[in-house]
C-alpha cells in the first residue's frame, strides 16, 4: 500500500513538475503545478503528516495557484510561449547540464541512502501518544513561538507591497511619457552625432 501511494504520488509530482517546465501555455503550467501539489499531498499523507497535507492543499492549490491563474488572466498572458526558441546562447544546454550535475552531487553527497546521521529528536518526538495536530500546535506555540509571531511581519509586508505596487498614480506637471522620453533621447543623440560622432557612439548602449 505504501509503495503504491508513493509511486502514484511520485508519478504525479514528476509529471506535474515536468509539465510546469515543458508546457507552453502558462495556464497549463499552473494546472500542472496543482498536479504536483496533489502528489506532494499524497507523499505527506503517506508519511503521516496529515495536518500538513491538508494545509498544503489549502494554501497551494487553494490560494497560491489561484493567485497565479488570476494574474495570468489579468495580464492576459495566457498565450503560448515559443519554447523552441532560445535567444541566450548556451543557456539551455548549460541549464540542463547544471540541473543534472547538481542532482548527481546531492546524490553523491548522500551516497543515495545515507541521509541522516542518527541524531536524536530535539524538538520533541513525533511518534507516540497524542495527535499530530496537537504536537505541531504545542511545538509551534512554545519552541517556535517567536518565528510564529514574526510571520505577522511578512503578512504586513505583503499587504503594503500589494498597495504600493498596484496603486494608480496621479500624473503631475512636467512628467514625460515613455514615448516622449524616447524622443528626447533620440533628439539628443542626433544633436550629439552632429557635433561629435565618436561621442554619440559611446553614449549608445555598449554592444551586446
Amino acid at each position: 500500500m505504501d509503495w503504491a501511494v508513493y509511486l502514484v504520488g511520485a508519478a504525479m509530482i514528476l509529471t506535474g513538475a515536468l509539465g510546469v517546465i515543458l508546457l507552453r501555455n502558462p495556464v497549463h503550467c499552473a494546472l500542472m503545478l496543482v498536479f504536483t501539489m496533489f502528489g506532494i499531498f499524497l507523499e505527506f499523507i503517506n508519511q503521516g503528516a496529515d495536518f500538513l497535507a491538508a494545509v498544503q492543499i489549502i494554501v497551494y492549490a487553494g490560494a497560491v495557484v489561484i493567485l497565479f491563474l488570476f494574474v495570468i488572466m489579468f495580464l492576459g498572458v495566457d498565450r503560448k510561449e515559443a519554447i523552441g526558441a532560445e535567444r541566450l546562447r548556451f543557456q539551455r544546454p548549460l541549464a540542463i547540464l547544471l540541473g543534472l550535475v547538481a542532482l548527481v552531487e546531492i546524490l553523491a553527497l548522500s551516497r543515495v541512502d545515507h541521509w541522516v546521521s542518527g541524531a536524536p529528536a530535539q524538538s520533541g518526538a513525533l511518534k507516540g501518544a497524542g495527535s499530530n495536530v496537537a504536537k505541531l500546535g504545542q511545538s509551534l506555540y512554545t519552541g517556535y513561538l517567536l518565528p510564529f509571531e514574526m510571520t505577522a511581519a511578512l503578512l504586513v509586508i505583503a499587504v503594503v507591497a500589494a498597495v504600493v505596487m498596484s496603486r494608480r498614480h496621479q500624473p503631475s506637471a512636467g512628467e514625460m511619457s515613455p514615448a516622449a522620453q524616447k524622443e528626447l533621447r533620440e533628439s539628443h543623440q542626433s544633436a550629439l552625432s552632429a557635433s561629435d560622432p565618436s561621442l554619440a557612439g559611446r553614449l549608445e548602449a555598449p554592444s551586446e
Binding site: L109, W115, V116, S117, Q122, L146, V156, V163, P178, A205
Partner: protein, 563 residues
C-alpha cells in the same frame, strides 16, 4: 542607572543556563533549557532580548494605524520623522541591551532557542537602528522630489529592519530564514518602489527572481542540515557536531554549501553577486544605500552565526570556500568597478569589493577576524549610506543623471558636500585616518595571523586597484567644469524608454502610469535638505572619528562574543 528597569516584570528574565541540559520527558518538549510537560504551552519569554524588534514592530503598526486616521495628505515630513523616531527608540533599546548584557560570556539562546541575546547581535541591532534613522532621513527629500512620498516606503523600511534584526539575533536556521525573507521581501518592493522608472521595476524584478532562487537554495540547505544533525538550532547543531563524529557528513556539507550560497547571495559575494550592480543601479538611490548597509550586515551576521556557532567544528571544510569567495569578490569587485561609467553602478561594484574584506575576516575564523569584520560592517554603513545620499542629491529629478560626469566640478560648486564625499571615498579606498583604513588593516591582520600571506597580498593588491577609481572620482570632483554643449548631460537611460518594448509593438496605448519626470540637475549648487545634511555630517564625522581613535574597534571587540 538603568537598573530599576530590571524590576519591571514584563521585561522578563534572561534565561538560565541550559548547558546542563535536561532530559526530555516522553512527549515533552525542550524549551530554553526548561523541560516542559506534555500539553504545556508555557514558555518563558525574555522580552528584554527583543526590545528593538518590538519597538520597530509596534512603531510600524502605530504608523499604519495613524495613516488610516489622518487625512490623506498629511503634513509632509511626518512619516520620515516618525520613522526616525522609531529608529531612535530602537537604538536606545539596543544601547540599553548592550549595558544590560555587560561583559557576559558565551551567548545563551532565549525564547525557545530561536534567538540569541548577546553583544554580537546587539552590535547589529545598533547598526540596523542607525541605518533606519539614516535611511528615513535621507529618503525623505528624494521621495518628495520624485513624487513618491507616502507612508509605505517607511513601513517597508521598518519591516526590512525587523527582518535584518531577526537575522542578526537568530538562534536557529528557521529564524534565520524567516528574518532573511522578511528583510528580502521588503527590499524587493523597495527596489521596485519608483514604479514610473522602468529601471527601478527592472531592479525589483531581478532582485525578486534571483532572491527567491537563492532563498530556495538556502532553504534546501537548511533542510539538509536539519536532516544531518536533527535540529535547526545553532546551539544544538554545534553541540551535536562537537559530541559526535558523523561517518558520512556529505549531507551536512551539502547543506552547509547551500546555506553559504544563500547568504553569500545576500552579502553580494562573487560568484553570487550578479544582481548587485543591476539592483543598486536601478533602485531609488537612498534605498540603495540603506539596502547596501542593512542587507550586507544582516547577511554577514547570519554567515557568522551559522559558520561559527553551528558549524564551528567544520572549519576545515568551510574556510577554503570562504577563502575562494573572498579572493574572487575582492578581485572582481575592484576590477569591474574601474570599467564603470555610472556612479551608482561603480559604487555597487565597490560595495562588492568591500564585502570581500569582510569575507577575509570571516574566513580567518578567529576572534581577531570577527572583530575586524564587525568593525568593518559597523563603519561601512556610515560610509555607504552617506555615499548614496550624496549621489541621490546630485541626480536631479527622475534620477536623470548618475554618470560620473555629474560629480565633475562638485568641489568648486559645493566645497562642503564635496569634502564630505571625499571623506567617504577615502574611507572606502582605505586611506589612513579614516575608518576604512583600520577596517582593512584589522581583517588583513587577521589573515596574517593565520599565516595566510597570499590572501593578505591579494587583499592589499585589490585595495591598490580600488584606490585608483576612488581617487579618480575624487579628482573628478576637484577638476573644473568642462564647457559642455547644452544637451549632452541629459542622458535618458536607454532602459527607460526601450526596455519593455523589445519585440513588442511600439508603445501605442500609453498609460499615465509609466510617466516619469526627467529633469537633469542644474549646473549650479544643489540644495541640501537639513535631514540629509545631518546624515552626511554625522556619517563623515563618525568615519573620521572611528579612523583616528579606538572607540569603535573597542566596541567591535567587545561584541565579539562568538569565540
Amino acid at each position: 542607572m538603568i537598573q530599576p528597569l530590571h524590576l519591571l516584570g514584563f521585561l522578563g528574565q534572561a534565561s538560565p543556563a541550559s548547558s546542563s541540559g535536561c532530559t526530555i520527558a516522553p512527549g515533552g518538549f525542550r524549551v530554553d533549557g526548561f523541560c516542559t510537560d506534555p500539553g504545556s504551552l508555557h514558555i518563558p519569554v525574555a522580552y528584554r532580548s527583543i526590545i528593538p524588534v518590538l519597538v520597530l514592530t509596534i512603531g510600524a503598526l502605530v504608523m499604519l494605524a495613524l495613516s488610516a486616521v489622518l487625512p490623506k495628505r498629511a503634513r509632509p515630513g511626518l512619516w520620515p520623522a516618525l520613522t526616525a523616531l522609531v529608529g531612535a527608540f530602537s537604538l536606545a533599546g539596543a544601547v540599553w541591551q548592550w549595558y544590560d548584557l555587560g561583559t557576559a560570556g558565551a551567548a545563551q539562546p532565549t525564547i525557545g532557542g530561536q534567538i540569541f541575546y548577546d553583544r554580537f547581535s546587539v552590535l547589529f541591532l545598533i547598526l540596523i537602528s542607525i541605518a533606519v534613522i539614516f535611511g528615513a532621513l535621507s529618503a525623505d527629500s528624494y521621495l518628495r522630489r520624485e513624487g513618491l512620498d507616502g507612508i509605505e516606503a517607511y513601513i517597508l523600511m521598518l519591516m526590512s529592519a525587523i527582518g535584518a534584526m531577526l537575522m542578526a539575533q537568530s538562534g536557529s536556521l528557521i529564524m534565520l530564514f524567516l528574518g532573511l525573507e522578511i528583510m528580502s521581501i521588503a527590499l524587493y518592493v523597495m527596489a521596485a518602489y519608483h514604479r514610473r522608472r522602468t529601471q527601478s521595476g527592472e531592479a525589483g524584478l531581478k532582485y525578486f527572481i534571483l532572491g527567491s532562487f537563492s532563498s530556495a537554495l538556502f532553504l534546501y540547505g537548511v533542510a539538509l542540515i536539519y536532516g544531518a544533525t536533527g535540529s535547526v538550532e545553532f546551539g544544538l547543531i554545534g553541540n551535536f557536531l562537537t559530541g559526535n563524529v558523523i561517518a558520512n557528513n556529505g549531507v551536512l556539507l551539502g547543506g552547509m554549501a547551500l546555506v553559504i550560497v544563500g547568504l553569500g547571495f545576500k552579502v553580494a559575494a562573487v560568484p553570487f553577486h550578479y544582481w548587485t550592480p543591476d539592483v543598486y543601479q536601478g533602485s531609488p538611490t537612498p534605498f540603495t544605500g540603506y539596502m547596501a548597509a542593512v542587507a550586507k550586515a544582516a547577511g554577514f551576521a547570519g554567515l557568522f552565526r551559522v559558520l561559527t556557532q553551528a558549524l564551528g567544528t567544520q572549519q576545515a571544510n568551510w574556510r577554503p570556500i570562504i577563502w575562494l569567495m573572498a579572493v574572487l569578490t575582492l578581485g572582481i569587485g575592484s576590477v569591474m568597478a574601474i570599467a564603470q561609467k555610472d556612479l551608482k553602478r561603480m559604487m555597487a561594484y565597490s560595495s562588492i569589493s568591500q564585502a570581500g574584506y569582510v569575507l577575509v575576516g570571516l574566513q580567518a575564523a578567529s576572534a581577531t577576524g570577527t572583530s575586524g569584520a564587525l568593525f568593518y560592517l559597523f563603519t561601512y554603513i556610515f560610509v555607504i549610506v552617506g555615499t548614496f545620499a550624496v549621489i541621490g542629491l546630485l541626480q536631479g529629478r527622475g534620477e536623470a543623471r548618475s554618470d560620473l560626469g555629474v560629480i565633475r566640478g562638485l568641489g568648486r560648486r559645493q566645497p562642503l558636500l564635496a569634502g564630505v564625499m571625499l571623506v567617504f571615498l577615502l574611507a572606502q579606498a582605505g586611506v589612513p585616518f579614516t575608518s576604512g583604513f583600520l577596517a582593512k588593516f584589522y581583517v588583513i591582520q587577521a589573515a596574517v595571523q593565520r599565516g595566510q600571506y597570499w590572501l593578505a597580498v591579494i587583499a592589499m593588491l585589490a585595495a591598490a586597484i580600488a584606490a585608483f577609481f576612488y581617487l579618480r572620482i575624487a579628482l573628478l570632483m576637484y577638476s573644473s567644469d568642462p564647457a559642455e554643449p547644452g544637451p549632452l548631460p541629459v542622458d535618458v537611460p536607454p532602459a527607460d524608454a526601450g526596455v519593455l518594448t523589445l519585440g513588442l509593438e511600439p508603445i501605442a496605448s500609453l498609460d499615465l502610469e509609466t510617466t516619469l519626470v526627467i529633469d537633469p540637475p542644474s549646473r549650479g549648487p544643489v540644495p541640501v535638505p537639513l535631514a540629509v545634511g545631518a546624515v552626511l555630517a554625522v556619517s563623515a564625522a563618525f568615519t573620521i572619528a572611528a579612523g583616528v581613535s579606538s572607540f569603535a574597534i573597542d566596541f567591535a571587540k567587545q561584541a565579539t562574543t562568538l569565540f
